[in-house]
Symmetry: C2
Subunit: 190 residues, 2 copies
């Protein structure tokens, strides 16, 4: 098993309560009650309604100076206060994948400021990106981005996704779904 | 199934006769008699000794001008005269994958001339690159490069791999195996 593999399974089980499953571009995913986030290939507790897979991987666009700036401020997924989350699966068009590296980078950052827009939400909004396109299985999306944040930072997350969706880069997005979740509170002592 | 998935299975069956399996850097692979090259997940005819998997994917380093120059001259795998082949599985170090995109590009082309060295072997040597690192399974290599060429072009292939192995980029290669094969001739009419 690839240690960088993660599964996001929607159904009746999982650590997260699902508040909404909303199509942003193209076809939606089915509404589910809960979302399980699992590292590796461990079996799921119940047959899920959908199971999206992706692997964390190396950076594809950031430069040394951008990376250093991000690393200095970004926070890991799973801070105790970060009780809200969002999973955003995205598929880009064949036209995007056919572009050479320099043109994808120019659209991504010089013209769409993807890194800069994400940086503005730091450190409040944490983010982990998973790649699906080069899995051996046929996956419905190219990327799964998983965010978490404290309830008082939800407006920052909302601003982040609105700003990204207004970019030139997003013209190459042909499918996008937004799944908003919250983490169950620990059981109180009985 | 991902339509871009390929399997390279070494064992007693397959379209190609194996002439040599040679370690270039690090641990070798076992010697086998034949190599099967299979698109997709179709079952193998016999239990292979090893089976390497990879997916073709988008370009990671080439610019628009480099891509146009390559596309104008490169040939597809499988030309009738291309009876010799080579599979070169490579694993790069964690230090390579931790570099940001701009520094990997600088090492890859500005300092190692990877694209330029490959271009010199065109159109005689055809090449198809497969990525393994972002498969869900744990793969022993990061890349599988598959080459084919006519017997009279074998010296061009030999020059290509010698030149690449002398580059700064290759200091980040921690495992490399070279498997040389030939394609069985069609059966003669009896």
């Amino acid at each position: 098993m690839n240690q960088r593999l993660w599964q996001f399974a929607g159904g009746s089980a999982g650590q997260f309560e699902v508040h909404s499953v909303r199509p942003v571009i193209g076809e939606t995913l089915p509404h589910v009650a809960r979302l399980a986030v699992i590292n590796g290939e461990a079996g799921l507790q119940a047959a899920p309604v959908f199971c999206l897979k992706g692997v964390t991987s190396n950076e594809r666009y950031v430069t040394r100076s951008e990376k250093e700036e991000l690393v200095a401020v970004q926070q890991p997924i799973g801070r105790p206060a970060a009780r809200l989350g969002a999973l955003i699966p995205i598929k880009k068009s064949q036209a995007w994948w056919d572009l050479p590296q320099d043109e994808r980078r120019a659209i991504f950052e010089e013209r769409s400021a993807h890194i800069e827009i994400g940086r503005r939400a730091l450190p409040n909004v944490a983010r982990r990106l998973h790649h699906c396109r080069d899995l051996g299985s046929s996956e419905p999306f190219d990327f799964l981005t998983w965010f978490d944040f404290a309830p008082e930072d939800e407006p920052r997350f909302d601003e982040l996704v609105v700003a990204l969706r207004a970019t030139e880069e997003w013209r190459y997005v042909e499918r996008e779904v937004e799944i908003r979740v919250s983490r169950s509170m620990p059981l109180s002592p009985s």
